[in-house]
């Protein structure tokens, strides 16, 4: 379960998000809101990248009090992922694997399913937006995160990539019941795997579950 208590985020004097109290049970959520409403900010706050006021707890672990344990529960993929130009996909996978220690064979399985094997040895400078996106999705699924957050996951993905992503989501939801998802997307989430997805509206810095 994800809990917010008096969480808020401001940029300078402008308050972008304000969540007095909110509990989100396990499930799949679709963040909706116009551009600039704070969807990416919320995901970055949850990922521990942007500091915020108040408390965010996941499975009872506070982001502030247990920064490492909390982060172990999180998988996160950026909307427009950026990596150092000189790193290869293999470098990134090795780096993540060293830290997260995924189950044996999981990384190879993800590589095969997302179809990224052919450019793993090429440098990030030569990747297209879609390739970077696939790598970031792959990295988000490494390990056994309890909550996977995907910012605009369908943008720049090709059809096989979308199918592979939907399969992965479906698999994580069915085989590991504790995996929750928060997606932010302006694209329609019409695939079968997204049926029953709960909508979270963000407007004027306020969040409401629908």
């Amino acid at each position: 379960m994800l809990q917010f208590t008096e969480a808020e985020k401001s940029y300078g004097s402008k308050k972008v998000l304000e969540i007095a109290s909110l509990e989100m049970p396990w499930g799949m959520y679709w963040l909706q809101g116009p551009n600039g409403s704070g969807k990416t900010t919320l995901l970055r706050m949850l990922a521990g990248i942007l500091p915020s006021r108040g408390y965010i707890r996941l499975q009872g672990l506070s982001l502030k009090d247990h920064p490492v344990a909390y982060r172990r529960l999180i998988g996160w993929a950026e909307a427009e992922p950026l990596y150092p130009d000189f790193l290869t996909g293999a470098d990134l996978l090795a780096f993540y694997s060293d830290i997260i220690q995924p189950p044996v064979g999981q990384v190879d399985d993800l590589i095969a399913r997302l179809g990224v094997a052919s450019w793993l040895d090429s440098k990030a400078a030569s990747w297209s937006a879609g390739m970077s996106k696939k790598i970031s999705l792959l990295l988000a699924f490494i390990g056994r995160p309890a909550l996977i957050m995907l910012d605009e996951p369908l943008v720049t993905l090709d059809q096989p990539g979308i199918a592979a992503l939907c399969d992965l989501i479906d698999e994580r939801r069915s085989t590991q019941e504790s995996t929750g998802f928060i997606l932010s997307s302006h694209q329609p989430l019409s695939h079968a795997v997204f049926q029953g997805i709960q909508i979270v509206k963000i407007s004027d810095g306020l969040i409401s579950l629908i």
């Binding site: 490492v68 130009d85 090795a94 060293d98 990295l139």
Partner: protein, 366 residues
Amino acid sequence: MWLALNKTLIRSFYLQHAGFFLFLFIVFFGIVAPSQQLAYHYALIRGMLEAPVFLILVAFAWLLYAVKVSQFVFRVIDSPEGLFLCHLRRFEPGQCYLVLLRVQHVLFLPVSGYALAVVGVALYRGAWVVAVIVVSYLGLICGVAAMLYYRRLGYPGVFRERARSVSRRRPHVRYWGILVRFLIQDNRWFLVGIKLFSCGLLYLLLRQQTPEDYDLRAVYFTYCVALFGHGILLFRCRRLESGRMMWYRALPVALWKRLGQYVLFWLLLLAPEMLILGWMTPNPIRFIDALELGITGNSLLILVSCCQMVIPLRVSDFLKLWLVLFGIWYGCVLGGSVIAMSGFFVGVAVALFFGGYYRSTTCCSG
């Protein structure tokens, strides 16, 4: 069968490596007059027999050659043109192995020919043990190589895939390594310039120190300017982190481990200067002074780096920060309290890091 192997493996190997063999031939036989060849090589082999280290080096070179040969054979077996070689596995395993052993022997001829001469001289001089060792060593190399070829023929291409898969996970990529690669790949000339300036300056200034005229204050002041150049490198690293490495903050890495990665990076960054200092002790610079200079330099960089991590700094802010630190540095050098200053710098840096790393928004300023 032999004909096919001869054509695909042996002949193509020697043709592809003709230049390499020509080079070796010139090195071994071209530098001595023909009339002196025998005496020269006899002396060389005697050297091998009398100095075990020399023999070990030669044995290592033979091993490298064996690796080169086996890599070539693996490449051929894995290539689409060499796939037909898998049919060799249809023969009896022993028969197949012997054929591959013969291939290896022919490919290894340049080494085994010379080794034969070594064995001959060893026997002539009564060095039986060396002769046996050399023969066994060569036999082992060829035997193992043939066995590897035999295994490879059973799974052409699979080993390469597996090796790729393993190499994907094996090389440990560390955070400090990423930062070092950034400096080497994207800031190569700037880094070289700063290093030349910094190390050259240290060397020249320290060389002028004499027991009669021993004063390191000038060294401290100029070294601070060199450190400023390093500060610019750190500034660029920070920009990389805030722009393209935001994801690192979302990873489950303990703060002390993060700090450890940075400390390693800072130490590596100043390693050439530390080597110069070490080289210049105890004369012209005393050991304790070298240690102080090294510690103060590192502590200054650590503080600058931590400040950048916690406080969003523009270029103008960065310059102001350096001015302030330079003032403190200047005062402490004149006051003779550089170690206290270093302790203060490190203390502030660590406090800033632990207190501000997760609270700062500098990661998203890019």
